[in-house]
């Protein structure tokens, strides 16, 4: 089990960031992903495997300033 933005999500072996975003239906183009407070670059979404028990934050950035 992992936690994604405070919600429990089932974990499986070799779960990548890209797969997790698909499972959670996060389709916004402007996301910041942190796994256990470690920043995951967009280019690493396929390679980065999420460990079981992780705390994942997915932040959607909005315009305005």
């Amino acid at each position: 089990m992992i936690e994604v933005n405070g919600q429990e999500v089932a974990w499986r072996e070799n779960l990548s960031v890209r797969e997790l975003l698909q499972i959670c239906k996060y389709s916004f183009p402007l996301l910041i992903v942190k796994v256990n407070d470690e920043f995951v670059a967009r280019s690493d979404y396929d390679n980065f495997k999420i460990p079981d028990g992780s705390n994942v934050s997915v932040v959607h950035l909005m315009s305005g300033g």
Binding site: L31, I32, K34, E38, F39, V59, L61, S63, G64, G65
Partner: protein, 222 residues
């Protein structure tokens, strides 16, 4: 040279030491000694950046790097700390001028360049902390990604969700390791929501408050 400077480099008859002692007399004890030697970078000199910069100067952060390639426009004055006689001037120059009127002894590096992935490190690299103060979400994402990749041990304070009116209590600082995100994280700026001065300034003040806490203590409470 500032018009209050007399021939001896004094301001209103005061030396720099005397000026600083009185200027920051009401600041929290001990804070100036720490903040004076810190460098903060601000990416964007608009509604967020112009307010963040003034708050940091008044907090005692003496060294700022501010980057923006835009000019001051009339439609900026609803929320940005500029004046109508600065319309058409580069924002970073106008902001530097205004900040030096608050405290003429601060050191402002004004960079009139467009920020992209390839120059984030070069322009902001010597700063102790970066404050994201862009308007467009794509620019926010680019900056956060570039900074986190280049400097995983340094903090970045960013803003997301500050459009519309009311809901002041929805504006919060969320801490994700060394990324701090200020705003309501839900309200996008568009033609329906718009941007209003106090809500933008609240978010900017929250960003500055987080930055000061991090510069003083090395971390931030969640």
């Amino acid at each position: 040279m500032n018009k209050f400077n007399d021939l001896n480099g004094k301001i209103n008859g005061m030396t720099q030491c005397e000026f600083e002692a009185e200027f920051y007399r009401r600041n929290p004890p001990g804070s100036l000694a720490v903040l004076k030697n810190k460098t903060a970078a601000i990416a964007g000199a608009g509604g967020l950046g112009s307010n963040v910069a003034a708050a940091l100067i008044r907090s005692g952060v003496y060294n700022l790097i501010i980057a923006d390639f835009d000019m001051v426009e009339l439609s900026n004055l609803n929320r940005q700390q500029f004046f109508y006689d600065q319309i058409g001037a580069p924002k970073v120059s106008a902001l530097k001028e205004n900040l030096l009127k608050i405290n003429p002894f601060v050191r402002i590096t004004a960079v009139a360049e467009k920020i992209c992935e390839s120059n984030v490190k070069e322009i902001f690299g010597r700063a102790d902390i970066l404050i994201e103060a862009f308007d467009r979400a794509e620019m926010k994402a680019m900056l956060i990604e570039s900074w986190c990749a280049a400097f995983p041990d340094k903090f970045i304070v960013a803003a997301s969700g500050l459009a519309g009116t009311g809901r002041g209590n929805a504006i919060k600082a969320a801490v994700y390791g060394r990324l701090v995100l200020c705003g309501d994280q839900t309200t996008e700026a568009n033609e329906t929501t718009g941007l209003i001065a106090p809500r933008v300034a609240m978010t900017a003040a929250l960003e500055a408050n987080c930055a000061v806490e991090i510069l003083l203590s090395g971390g931030i409470g969640n």
